[in-house]
Amino acid sequence: MNRQEFESKNQTEWQVFEQQLKGAEGGKAPADGHKLPSRFRKICYDLSLAQYRMFGHGICDKLNALAIRGYRTIHRKRGAFGEGAIKFVMQTFPRTIRREWKLFAIVSAVFWLPFFAMWWSADKEIHWVQALLGSEQMASIDGMYGKDADTVEHLRQEHGSNFMMFAHYINNNVGIDFRLFAGGIFFGIGTLFYLIYNGLFFGAVVGYVEYAGEPELLWRFVAGHSSFELLGMLVVGMAGLKMGFSLLAPGQLGRGEALTKAGRDGLPLLIGGALLTSLAAVVEGFWSAQPMAPNIKYTVGITFWGLHLLYFVFAGRRFGGA
């Protein structure tokens, strides 16, 4: 069979397929939709044949274009969003955390060691903390948690200010999460920098408030959202470090492939961490500043930490004989 015969024999089939594709791409359900896959297979077969026999650019390019469009149409990824979301929360996310427990240990150490070191140093020698915070930060901390501060609860009485702070936390904290993740692309250095810096900074704030302010004001404000916010940050950090490690030690894969794999495997961590941080913004915006007895706030805060622990350890496990 030469080129002319091949072309004239199959021409009509190709045109029918193209017509049907146009309908399907426009979102309409074509009358004989069930025939699309078999026609697509025929296109694939014709393309391979034309390529192998080198029937020239005209035919090969046309069939190539049809094959690409057919592939896009047939392999369209459209899942049920609700079901996917539930599966993600109940299974994928906690399972990924457990699978990457080593990374979790690393990011926890990288964050908590500087945190406690800084806090501890405030007790011995306050200059470290003062040098890190700077005068402006210290003034603003004095304003919020100082001895005679206008408390957060009081400031949030104004109409809409809770919503305003919620928006601010989303914009700021979730944005930081995304940068924390992306920084991992530089061999993990960006992620490590953010984690260490945040550890030092939070430690310094706590240390400074213990030194110069009213610690109870701080603790009762942060108790509620602390678990969401800190765990969210650490989990996103895991995704960032995963990319960094894949570039440093790609193992048996090429660096490019290893990076692709790390991106794919770490994705639940990025999304899950960002969700935790968003929840933190909800709690921090609408609940943390409610006037309430400190003991209630501490209880709620500790309960949330406990629930996180249970969720990460037990959610999505198969019990019994499955």
Binding site: R41, M54, G56, H57, I68, F163, A167, F178, A182, R264
Partner: protein
């Protein structure tokens, strides 16, 4: 064409699960830079419009609420403009769409939400060190780091169909009496299919590479190769 694509063209060969090979035309960094600049303009315009809107309704809802909506809008536009457009049926942001580009996964299909997030979030830090996106020049698929991490690439949305530019018919057929590999055969055929679009000087420049085979240089070499192509074509 299956085998020669790697050397004759800048096409990327991808093997699909269906067992066939398709060719993707990866878009170069220059075009993508222009698309990025267009997108920046779109983002700024969108933010200005949103700000105008909230300035207008500001007396109704109060300063805190309008400021909050403003912050949320900034967040959505800044982090999700690219992401949402790239997972839409367009598969491209406004800038890319305008230039006829499209973001696809490594098999030429649409990207998922996660892939779009990874590739766009990483761009933010790639821009911190402006030489980092230039890594795309050293990748055969022009993938920058974000593309590598997400497993995506940017291609021309419409696979281009080259017009057949046959040029003048050769005067005589020239039998090819040596064994050609498939790639060599395809190269000679491509020369015939495309030479109508070139200047005479370019034709001679290319055909002179084959002077050892044809034994001729200049215009005679050109017509000899065209004759060989004609002979090869009639063989099939």
């Amino acid at each position: 064409m299956a085998i020669p694509a790697r050397r004759i063209d800048t096409l990327q060969t991808v093997e699909l699960a269906e067992g066939m090979e398709i060719h993707l035309r990866a878009a170069g960094p220059f075009l993508r830079l222009i698309a990025y600049i267009l997108d920046l303009l779109v983002e700024v315009a969108a933010l200005l419009l949103i700000q105008l809107f909230f300035n207008l309704i500001f007396p109704l809802v109060g300063s805190n609420v309008s400021q909050a909506f403003m912050l949320l809008s900034v967040f959505c536009v800044w982090w999700f403009y690219h992401v949402l457009f790239e997972i839409s049926p367009w598969g491209a942001t406004v800038g890319k769409k305008a230039l006829g580009l499209r973001v696809v996964d490594e098999a030429g299909g649409g990207v998922t939400l996660g892939q779009a997030m990874i590739r766009n979030f990483i761009r933010g830090v790639e821009m911190i060190l402006p030489f980092v996106p230039l890594i795309a020049f050293f990748n055969p698929r022009f993938q920058r780091l974000g593309d590598l991490a997400a497993g995506t690439l940017v291609v021309y949305a419409r696979p281009r169909i080259d017009p057949l530019l046959l040029g003048p018919l050769p005067l005589e057929k020239v039998p090819v009496n040596l064994t050609l590999s498939r790639e060599e055969e395809a190269a000679i055929l491509s020369f015939r299919y495309r030479n109508g679009g070139w200047s005479e000087a370019r034709r001679m420049e290319l055909s002179n590479h084959l002077s050892k085979v044809t034994g001729e240089v200049g215009p005679k070499g050109v017509s000899k190769i065209l004759g060989m192509a004609q002979w090869l074509e009639e063989q099939r």
